[in-house]
């Protein structure tokens, strides 16, 4: 089972280490982790995707809550949240393949952000499935390099997760 949690932390050096250390020490599996400042620069927000059953999730949340620098931990219910990830993909592209790649880019509403004689860089955002699907389709052309941000997520509607 995959779970997504939002963790509001103090925006200080060493906090990421504490969280990463906790996950490795307790053998929790992280699928994805992303972090960035919030509207309040004193706090940062992490979105963490973890694997495990309900008991594991409960332990993850409780253990994270024990860290002094962690302000808030919330589970984000997949059905009530929007989830986005960004990937940049450098793919081999020559005269013959370029137009076919551009078609795929259009279908996925992705963007081409760099072009050279032999390659192009594609930027795509979406949920994990969309990005996986896009990568799958681009493989035939030869993926030279790939970078993904990890997931960010937010609950739909009025509910707010803040410090």
């Amino acid at each position: 089972m995959k779970h997504t949690i939002a963790v509001i932390v103090e925006n200080k050096s060493g906090v990421l280490t504490r969280i990463a250390g906790l996950f490795s020490r307790r053998s929790f599996n992280i699928d994805s982790l992303s972090v960035g400042a919030t509207d309040n620069p004193d706090y940062a927000r992490m979105t963490i995707t973890v694997q495990g059953d309900r008991d594991v999730l409960e332990q993850v949340i409780k253990q994270l809550s024990k860290l002094i620098n962690v302000i808030r931990v919330s589970e984000l219910d997949a059905s009530e949240s929007v989830v986005r990830e960004l990937a940049v993909i450098k793919v081999s592209a020559d005269k013959e393949s370029r137009s076919e790649i551009m078609q795929i880019v259009n279908i996925f509403r992705a963007k081409i952000i760099d072009v050279s004689h032999r390659s192009m860089i594609i930027e795509v955002t979406g949920d994990e499935n969309k990005i996986d699907a896009m990568i799958q389709l681009l493989r035939q052309f030869g993926i030279k390099e790939l970078a993904r941000t990890g997931m960010v997520s937010m609950v739909r509607g009025a509910r707010v997760i803040k410090a």
Partner: protein, 583 residues
């Protein structure tokens, strides 16, 4: 508000936190701090190894309930604290460890005696800090003490770069403001009601008590609850003394080397009320078959402990004292019943016992004699057989008077912990029950005890081996005693004590045990008592690792052939040390 150096600010913080004694050892980067200590009235105990300082602070904290403080220099000084910090973390001991650090501009440059101690201690501290500015000293120290002693207590480390202690600062004492720290205290009323109902419905309840009751100071409330509903009480190693062991409701300790009747009671129970205990593997045995008929109520101040190791039917998050107080009000009195009778029967049928001997000292006999002659002493222990015998054969009545390394199982803990305990409670006799293996792990602190005139007593149960591991080898490794026979490699403990200026006493026969203990208690100097005990003795009963609690075995304490075999191995070495009369 007044202007002072960072080092002076540190001492001002310690003073404001009510710290009267610190345990430490100086070093290069700590020169400014030690200069301030020199000019202050704080009592500094100079140790001979930083591990000793950490264990002393730990022993002091467990004996007094106050936050223990230890100090070590950067690099090796700091890393030498690590075992002591891990030990305090596993047993939830309130401690503040102060480490020196290289100047801030040298951090990360692999400077002389630099170690990333905040990184190293990340998983073994409740929280830690690397100070980068003198203006943060007061805030960080205040937070550190607050975090260390509240909620589930634990060690907090403060890494103090040299320049931070030299810089000048205007001292202010800020309020604690930690938006991410909310130690739970008051138990939820609904959960208390549910727990009370379950207790009243149960016909075979057992109260299972851990260190949480000790730290919450909830022994009185526990006693009131247990006697009100006539429920038997078993304690973990950390909970020893929370319930008086001479009370008929006491089941003593449970788990691997617990009593048979405690383990039977757990396995037959229909309701377990766990209070401040964490279902450790040494307690539960095989987890899948632990307490198969019982609903479980779990009171704990740390929400993360609830549901961590076992399924819990009624979780109660809160301080043990507060929760027990609430629970007492909710439950009605219950008379003794069939369950109590059944337990009485088990207690009669399966008492803790050993075979006394006229010629050779049984280690259990030494513990019984200590209990008889010093019933109110603070007992600290090392780890292994000595620890289990001290837990089993001393009648404990006060949790602050049994001090032992539970979670981490640190050999070498008991002696420095005894020194710390004695500093905190000088009016008490303090006795470290040790083995010949573990005592040597921190015996250098004899110098600390002697120089500072801290008259602790050490009772070495000298069996010439690393007894607990030897016991496992005998039982599970076909008597291949790999690296567990110490024999002649141990020093003469009497001479060792004397070399440090302490008193050394030896008993080689059961008839000498009492006079040695009396002599030790009568002197006001540190004493090492060397009890030459039976080498083949085993800790019994025992739940083999991975077995169910009810599969607890009564071991043959001392198998005749085994004894002869071991004697032969030891004899030569012992004669060299103790002369012919050694045996």
């Amino acid at each position: 508000m007044s202007k002072m150096t960072g080092a002076q600010a540190v001492l001002e913080c310690l003073k404001r936190e009510g710290v009267d004694v610190v345990f430490g050892l100086p070093g290069g980067v700590l020169l400014p701090l030690y200069d301030a200590i020199y000019q202050s009235d704080i009592h500094h105990i100079l140790v001979r190894h930083e591990q000793g300082a950490a264990h002393m602070a730990d022993g002091y904290a467990r004996a007094t309930g106050k936050v223990g403080v230890c100090i070590a220099t950067s690099g090796p000084g700091a890393t030498n604290l690590v075992t002591g910090i891990a030990n305090a973390y596993m047993d939830s001991v309130p401690m503040v460890a102060i480490t020196g650090q290289v100047n801030t501009w040298l951090i990360g440059k692999d400077a002389f005696q630099e170690a990333d101690i905040t990184g190293i201690t990340l998983p073994i501290t409740k929280h830690n800090y690397l100070l980068r500015s003198a203006k943060d000293i007061a805030r960080v120290f205040r937070e550190a003490f607050f975090i260390a002693r509240t909620g589930r207590p634990g060690p907090v480390l403060i890494d103090l770069p040299r320049d931070v202690t030299v810089d000048e600062v205007m001292f202010t004492w800020p309020e604690v403001n930690l938006p991410g720290y909310h130690p739970s205290f008051k138990a939820h009323e609904m959960q208390i009601k549910k727990a009370a109902k379950a207790l009243m419905e149960a016909s075979r309840p057992v109260i299972y008590v851990g260190g949480g009751v000790r730290y919450a100071g909830a022994s009185k409330e526990l006693y009131a609850l247990a006697t009100k509903i006539n429920a038997p009480v078993t304690t973990t190693l950390m909970g020893i003394g929370c319930f008086p062991e001479d009370n008929p409701l006491s089941l003593g300790m449970l788990g691997m080397h617990g009593t048979k009747y405690a383990n039977y009671a757990i396995q037959e129970s229909d309701l377990i009320l766990a209070v401040g205990a964490r279902f450790d593997d040494r307690v539960t045995g095989k987890i899948a078959s632990f307490a198969p008929h019982a609903r479980i109520v779990h009171i704990d101040v740390d929400p993360a402990e609830v549901g961590k190791n076992v399924r819990v039917d009624i979780p109660v998050v809160g301080d043990a004292k507060n929760a027990l107080e609430a629970l007492i009000k909710e439950v009605g009195a219950k008379a003794r019943g069939e369950w109590n009778e059944k337990i009485e029967g088990w207690k009669k049928d399966y008492p803790l016992r050993y075979i006394p001997d006229m010629n050779i000292i049984k280690p259990q006999f030494v513990i019984e004699k200590l209990c008889e002659l010093a019933p109110d002493a603070i007992i600290t222990t090392e780890v292994g057989q000595n620890q289990m015998w001290a837990a089993q054969f001393f009648v404990h009545k006060d949790p602050s008077k049994f001090i032992s390394s539970g979670g981490l199982g640190t050999m070498g803990y008991g002696f420095p912990a005894a020194i710390g305990a004695k500093m905190g409670r000088p009016e008490c006799d303090v006795i470290d029950v040790a083995g010949d293996g573990s005592f040597l792990m921190n015996s250098q602190e004899l110098a600390t005890a002697v120089v500072n005139d801290i008259p602790v007593k050490v009772a070495v149960l000298n069996n010439g081996c690393l007894g607990m591991v030897r016991q496992w080898q005998e039982l599970f490794f076909e008597k291949r005693y790999s690296a567990t026979i110490l024999g002649r490699t141990s020093p003469d403990f009497v001479k060792l004590a004397e070399a440090y200026g302490a008193v050394g006493l030896r008993a080689t026969k059961p008839s000498e045990v009492e006079s040695v203990i009396r002599a030790a208690l009568a002197t006001d100097r540190p004493v090492v008592m060397d009890f030459i005990v039976s080498p083949a003795e085993k800790v019994s009963p025992m739940v083999p690792a991975g077995a169910t609690l009810s599969e607890i075995l009564e071991l043959e304490w001392c198998d005749e052939a085994q004894a002869c075999h071991l004697e032969k191995i030891y004899a030569q070495g012992r004669q060299e040390i103790y002369g012919q009369e050694g045996f």
